[in-house]
């Protein structure tokens, strides 16, 4: 359960962060497909399929979710997609007076990160990021998007019937580590 919860959040943060960090890239590719469908341009060069330029060590993929609920991709002919739309709420999260835990302060390349979770029963009912990088506009933009989405996803995806996730899974180590320590302290 603990890892399932963490994983849900990890996925969320990862997706949010990567989209936040690459707004221009994401925008840039939202264009009509260019002429990349050609099988062979006959350029005579040695082919080069991919270039990876990551390597800052701050990305992770690690996600599990293990509970009940349902999210299904449609499997009809056109493959339309049934995906929950995360509602981004900017309201402050509820802090449970009854239960909760504050995670470690974790230094990331963008600055210190610390999360606090509110717990009721065995469920996370709220997530606050009590410290986050806000040194520049980009940091604040990331936080503004990531934090509410994080909370929303944590709360809604606890019931997602997913064992693991394929795809973009990069995230910030700091968020995960602080969250993990908070979950550990809450005894979930």
């Amino acid at each position: 359960m603990r890892r399932a919860l963490l994983a849900v959040v990890v996925t969320t943060i990862g997706l949010v962060l990567l989209l936040s960090f690459k707004p221009h890239d994401v925008t840039a590719v939202a264009q009509p497909p260019s002429a990349l469908t050609q099988q062979d341009s006959g350029s005579g060069r040695q082919p080069s399929a991919l270039t990876r330029s990551d390597g800052d060590g701050d990305e992770h993929g690690d996600e599990h979710g293990d509970d009940d609920g349902d999210e299904h991709g449609d499997d009809d002919g056109r493959g339309t997609v049934a995906a929950p739309t995360p509602t981004v709420k900017k309201s402050p999260s509820a802090r449970s007076a009854a239960g909760g835990a504050t995670g470690d302060v974790v230094d990331t390349r963008w600055g210190p990160v610390q999360v606090r979770i509110a717990v009721s029963g065995k469920k996370i009912t709220g997530v606050d990021v009590v410290q986050y990088p806000d040194g520049n506009r980009r940091d604040r933009e990331i936080s503004a998007v990531a934090l509410p989405t994080l909370k929303e996803e944590t709360l809604s995806k606890q019931s997602a019937d997913i064992d693991t996730v394929s795809g973009a899974t990069y995230t910030s180590e700091g968020y995960i580590r602080s969250l993990q320590s908070a979950i550990d302290r809450a005894g979930l």
Binding site: S48, H72, T80, V81
Partner: protein
């Protein structure tokens, strides 16, 4: 038993559903040690790794651990099979990273199998090798990350013994370049490939992403592979066998 290991610049997640704690921990330790060994041998970020030294011409293939020759042969095979859309030389330098991760995951999965721990999944940075089903009558459920909606799942692949790899623009810091044009592949937002063995599935997913729309016919023609893709505008397509894999 679950375990997350930070290695090869990403996180590998193990989910093992059978075995006694002690034997599971031992097998897990072997699998994790394997991943670190792969990192030490194949990392292009470590100037002293055999692959880095090989790439600089400081040592020959014979001086490398035998896995290097194995991987380079697999890379050549992938290059042929994908019409050059996969390559181990994306720039001037040798960089088999595009195949190594999937290969390492598949091998880690095989190590668990060999230890009798068949009910497992191994996820390395979003690329997944599934073992036997987690419980009788229950498949693994692999969510495919929605490339355009943070945190959302675009589809769910359900099954066992499958390999699932997704390539996309959402991979931060990664740019998949069409080797035939040199331009970033931009026709798709993400492409998920499902097959049985992750070495090929992961390498082919990268190649198919670079193919763009042409990937659909290529995957249809390939044996034992199915694909699901989404364009930057949110349209999706899938190969004819893909619906059978969804849950």
């Amino acid at each position: 038993m679950r375990h997350a290991e930070h290695v090869m610049g990403t996180v590998f997640s193990f989910d093992i559903r059978d075995g006694e704690p002690e034997e599971t921990a031992r097998a897990l330790g072997e699998a994790v040690a394997w991943l670190h060994r792969v990192d030490a041998v194949f990392s292009t970020y470590r100037p002293d790794s055999p692959v880095s030294r090989l790439g600089r011409g400081e040592i020959g293939l014979a001086a490398c651990p035998p896995e290097v020759a194995e991987v380079l042969a697999l890379c050549e095979e992938a290059e042929r099979a994908t019409g050059g859309y996969f390559t181990a030389r994306p720039g001037a330098a040798l960089d088999p990273s595009g195949l190594v991760k999937g290969w390492a995951i598949e091998r880690a999965s095989a190590l668990l199998d060999a230890a009798g721990l068949r009910r497992h999944s191994v996820n390395g940075g979003g690329d997944v090798q599934l073992g036997d089903r987690p419980a009788p009558g229950r498949p693994w459920r692999v969510g495919i990350a929605h490339p355009l909606r943070p945190g959302a799942i675009a589809a769910v692949v359900a099954g066992a013994g499958l390999a699932v790899a997704t390539s996309g623009v959402a991979e931060r810091g990664a740019h998949i370049v069409d080797p035939h044009t040199g331009a970033p592949a931009a026709a798709l937002a993400s492409l998920t490939l499902v097959g049985s063995r992750l070495t090929a599935v992961d390498a082919y997913a990268t190649a198919a992403f670079a193919m763009g729309g042409a990937a659909r016919d290529w995957v249809e023609a390939a044996d034992g592979l199915e694909a699901f893709a989404m364009t930057p505008t949110g349209e999706t397509w899938q190969t004819t066998g893909f619906p059978r894999l969804t849950g």
